[in-house]
């Protein structure tokens, strides 16, 4: 292990620790420290211990789908992934969280987002199903 590598590791960890001291420069932020640490820890574990087990389990379930001439797997997987991704990114509007601040900032409410998201998911499911039907039809035609 080279000395350069050791210096690099220590320097970068030092930078991370120094960054955290920004919080210590402002006494009004002291009461926020536990919250920030909890959210940081939560973010760290979010993928590996929450999202991964969820989508891995869903994927195992998809693998149990009945075998068809044109496999169903990706035609179920893709709309599900699209639904999960958009739910994750646009969650606050969809579940109407933080509505008072939202209204103060925009002058609007969050009423439309859940229905819009459901339509979006429905559209992804419909397109995926349509493509599957087309593939099945073309394969049947090709196979005589």
């Amino acid at each position: 292990m080279s000395a350069v590598r050791a210096v690099g590791v220590v320097a970068c960890l030092g930078l991370g620790a120094y960054a955290a001291t920004i919080i210590l420069r402002d006494p009004t932020l002291y009461s926020s420290i536990p919250g920030m640490l909890i959210w940081f820890a939560g973010a760290l574990l979010l993928h590996d211990l929450v999202l991964f087990p969820l989508y891995a389990a869903a994927d195992r379930a998809i693998a149990l789908l009945p075998a068809t001439r044109v496999p169903l797997v990706n035609h179920v997987r893709l709309p599900l992934m699209g639904a999960g991704l958009t739910l994750l990114v646009y969650l606050p509007g969809i579940i109407r969280q933080g509505e008072p601040v939202f209204q103060g900032a925009t002058g609007l409410d969050q009423a439309p987002y859940l229905v819009r998201w459901l339509w979006l998911v429905a559209a992804m499911v419909a397109v995926s199903a349509l493509v599957w039907v087309v593939r099945v039809t073309r394969r049947s035609a090709a196979g005589g």
Binding site: Y18, A43, L46, D48, N74, P92, G98, F102, G104
Partner: protein, 395 residues
């Protein structure tokens, strides 16, 4: 615990493709984010960051769309990279279950992944909540997002330095062109090694399919985000706050009701206080007017371009007896953290910098800052003060 990893396409080449995309994209997100801190001028948040900021410079007024671009990129690129970040985390998850190295320096290297992974996901989560006005976390977004950024930068720099050779070697191990021509039926695992499952399931998706899925996720989010920054595409931002407006209006940033201002304070008795003199709205409207197309661009990444009409700030400075000001302090009728904005000389003297009385040919609405608001080229929207009460030009 012994886990059987099932994916036949997980391997260093695929991980390195995701890594390369992030290596190109994330520096742009980082730099545009740090530029936002500079754009806040003499009022950055958090105020005291020690040495951790870009070299200081006066935020320019040209081009007028500068902040629209930098902050739109910061938020927009940050959103569209979410699928790539998730794909990268998926691709390396077997590493989480490998034993901690004995060598202390190797253990420290492993620990630095806390900064890397915790940092990027903390930034994504707080950023996504902030642009949707969801403050469920209960702490200062600005401070947390800024500190989180530097914690991430520390982990990112180290990770790139340690892994760049591996990434280059892995990318060279397979031809991208050949992968893009390899269908599912011919998809085989990468050669045995790091990340590659020793006993995988049969493939259900080719490598090119996996890249297309991640790319498709990125395009989906891009399509649902671009509308918050492009007026003609606004309704396409289906699920974002700035995809909607009230009928025949453009997006409002902070309503009159939310400002807590009493109606009387912006009624007939309102005066603009320039120190040396006080002007009624009619007197302001009687001054020579200037019209300019200027964007309002907000820290949440959304923006809109409108046609503003009002009195150039430099004319007001001359009226106030300060023809060559070194800057200005603008105060709003509103009280609160964003009720005061400091402008540089350049921002006051730009010919298009306005105390706007009208937008798109009609008097400002209360929500857009009636009786008068500041509009300055390339200035963050939060400093384009609405419901202006006083402007103090400094000598």
């Amino acid at each position: 615990m012994r886990i059987r990893w099932r994916s036949p396409i997980r391997g260093p080449w695929l991980t390195s493709v995701f890594g390369l995309v992030l290596l190109c994209g994330l520096p742009v997100v980082i730099v545009t984010g740090l530029l936002d801190w500079v754009a806040y001028g003499s009022q950055p948040i958090p105020a005291d960051v020690g040495l951790l900021h870009l070299p200081g410079f006066d935020w320019p007024t040209r081009p007028a769309w500068l902040f629209r671009l930098t902050q739109g990129l910061h938020v927009g690129l940050g959103i569209v990279l979410v699928p790539v970040v998730l794909a990268k985390l998926w691709s390396v998850i077997p590493k989480l279950f490998t034993a901690l190295p004995r060598h202390p320096l190797r253990a420290l290297e492993r620990f630095s992944l806390v900064l890397l992974v915790g940092g990027i996901l903390f930034e994504i989560v707080t950023g996504l909540l902030n642009i949707q006005y969801d403050y469920v976390f209960g702490f200062s977004f600005y401070a947390a997002h800024y500190v989180g950024a530097w914690v991430f930068i520390a982990g990112f720099v180290l990770h790139v330095a340690l892994k760049l050779p591996t990434m280059v070697r892995s990318l060279r191990s397979r031809s991208l062109r050949r992968e893009l021509r390899t269908p599912l039926a011919e998809t085989r695992p990468e050669p045995a090694g790091d990340l590659v499952a020793p006993d995988p399931d049969p493939p259900t998706m080719s490598r090119r399919g996996a890249l297309a899925v991640v790319g498709g996720g990125t395009l989906l989010l891009a399509g649902l985000t671009i509308g918050q920054s492009v007026d003609a595409l606004r309704p396409t931002a289906l699920l974002l706050p700035r995809g909607r407006t009230a009928p025949d209006d453009f997006p409002v940033n902070r309503t009159f009701v939310a400002s807590g201002i009493e109606s009387a304070a912006v009624g007939a008795g309102w005066r603009l206080d320039l120190g040396a003199l006080r002007l009624t709205r009619d007197e302001l409207a009687a001054l020579p007017q200037h019209t300019a197309d200027l964007p309002i661009a907000c820290v949440e990444g959304w923006s809109t371009q409108q046609t503003w009409t009002g009195v150039p700030l430099r004319e007001l400075a001359a009226l106030a007896g300060v023809p060559t000001p070194t800057g200005a302090t603008v105060r709003s009728v509103e009280e609160g953290p964003f009720a005061r904005a400091e402008l540089t000389a350049d921002q006051v003297l730009h010919p298009d910098s306005l105390l706007a009385l009208q937008v798109n040919g009609a008097d400002l609405s209360l929500d857009h800052g009636f009786p008068a608001r500041i509009v300055v080229p390339a200035l963050p929207g939060v400093h384009c003060t609405k419901w202006v009460a006083t402007i103090g030009f400094s000598r």
